[in-house]
Symmetry: C2
Subunit: 343 residues, 2 copies
Amino acid sequence: MSQIKNDLFLRALRGESVQRPPVWMMRQAGRYLPEFMEIKEKYDFFTRCRTPELASEITVQPIRRYGMDAAILFSDILVIPQAMNIEVEMKPNFGPWLPDPIREPKDLERVVVPDINDSLGYVMDAIKMTKEKLNDEIPLIGFAGSPWTILCYCVQGQGSKNFDKAKEFCFTEPEAAHALLQKITDTTILYLKEKVKAGVNAVQVFDSWGGMLSPTDYQEFSWQYIQQIVDALKHETHVIVFGKGCWFALNVMAQSGASALGVDWTCSARNARYLSGGNITLQGNFDPSRLFSPPSEITKMVTQMIREFGKDRYIVNLGHGILPNIPLENVEAFINAVKDYKE
Amino acid sequence: MSQIKNDLFLRALRGESVQRPPVWMMRQAGRYLPEFMEIKEKYDFFTRCRTPELASEITVQPIRRYGMDAAILFSDILVIPQAMNIEVEMKPNFGPWLPDPIREPKDLERVVVPDINDSLGYVMDAIKMTKEKLNDEIPLIGFAGSPWTILCYCVQGQGSKNFDKAKEFCFTEPEAAHALLQKITDTTILYLKEKVKAGVNAVQVFDSWGGMLSPTDYQEFSWQYIQQIVDALKHETHVIVFGKGCWFALNVMAQSGASALGVDWTCSARNARYLSGGNITLQGNFDPSRLFSPPSEITKMVTQMIREFGKDRYIVNLGHGILPNIPLENVEAFINAVKDYKE
């Protein structure tokens, strides 16, 4: 493995003491950047994902502008169901749309665990091209959705406030739900292992909709599959698990072998440290909407957040993806508040 | 005050020991009931709210079928902004739609604290008619949205996954946001006091979107206004505060003077008792989607839930409103599991 010049992020994942915490932002390559919008006007969503030149360019855009301490590959969690033979479209001003969702056990017959390099080789090419562009200046993060979160879209067929159809499927057809979750898990493990081979320095599992489940159902329908992913990957790379709304599972997550846990903004630093047992690296948790505050307030709030989490075993991030329409100078204030942090 | 024959609900609110906990369901008068759907086909949403004969009939429909231990007046939290001179429509298959939302400080000029009996007298008439129909068999609950939750709709103009526009308004125009929150609070206090005069036996404040805020922002933009409502009402009636996703505020809520706190399904009974200090009556928290499970499983899960919360200082409920399309026999299993509960 080649030496990464700015290894703050990796050191935080290893739990080493650092001068200041590293910083990156979920969805940092995206709609708030004018240079991204230029590319978006010319190419549709999956063309951007599937063209290594575009995906790698989009990945490094925020790094050029702000110098975050880690890059995250531009891609989407729904490339996994696509590769599994479930059609996924991305409708402008609407979001994901699956014209033929999974609604009955028999719908599973067409779902496959694919050959990764056949179906998702373009992601590996994008990783290699991004690594060249990054030139070992900073680490590159790869990611996947949690099996539960992927199931949510496969069954609901689109975004939702409560994913009622996905939950109805799990609670009325639990055997079929578990069969689907296992197929997604198997695919995700193969996929993330290929990503590591292609060069990513860490992987993050996004359980965006884990917080829709009760603690008992979370164990049954989400966590046990994430644990399989952590078990399969933890000896090959750092695994970060981010469960939005999953404060109730932080104690189990902390014992999983993951290198770090993502936290959303409803869980205070103090609660997050307490619930996770105090020893694991935490990542988060600035409310993405708080980036609408004036830059001077952002600076104060970020400094306060670092004081509360502590500079060690901590990675500064938002509590969910950055929103569109955030002013560029506000992002700059966020990043610079971390870089200028002094104890 | 007349004597309520089945006073299980009131006894639970007073913290008295009971043979079994009382049970009702948020949105129990609604779309899963065929008798409700018949009325819905004939009259639009606000006609149902504004016609005391219809509102009272809808309120008692679930009681006739299942015999819950409390009724909750059929109405909507958005009658408050309507009365405050903010137009609210209810679009079929879409939900609330506010054609002229609050987006700038000057938009507040048209917002009034209304005379309650002028603008919301129809609610009081519906309460009186419902009380007659209930004939003191069970208590009647009145409700209001929390000021923060009402602001969410007033600014966003419709339902939302993250109420980004509402939060942007609060974080860029905090003075205007607080002025609006105070007007909503003043109106809500007058409204709930009139409801008590008209005959409700308890009131519930729904903070449906409190869980969108960080703990610090929750105190600033939501809780301080709910506390004003509790302070103004607690000597006149029982106040229940339900904050969806607000597990992080249960400790403050427990010291507010409220008689009970609602809990959603992401907070286990054990966590809820711990976070609220162990002495206050709790209400909840069955996952509404779990009513899709077979009746025999529902019975087991409800019994287990009562064991975990304990039969005293506990009101059985869902963790949010009941969903449409829930089979009638599943609701029956839910209610009967409580009625048949034995220690």
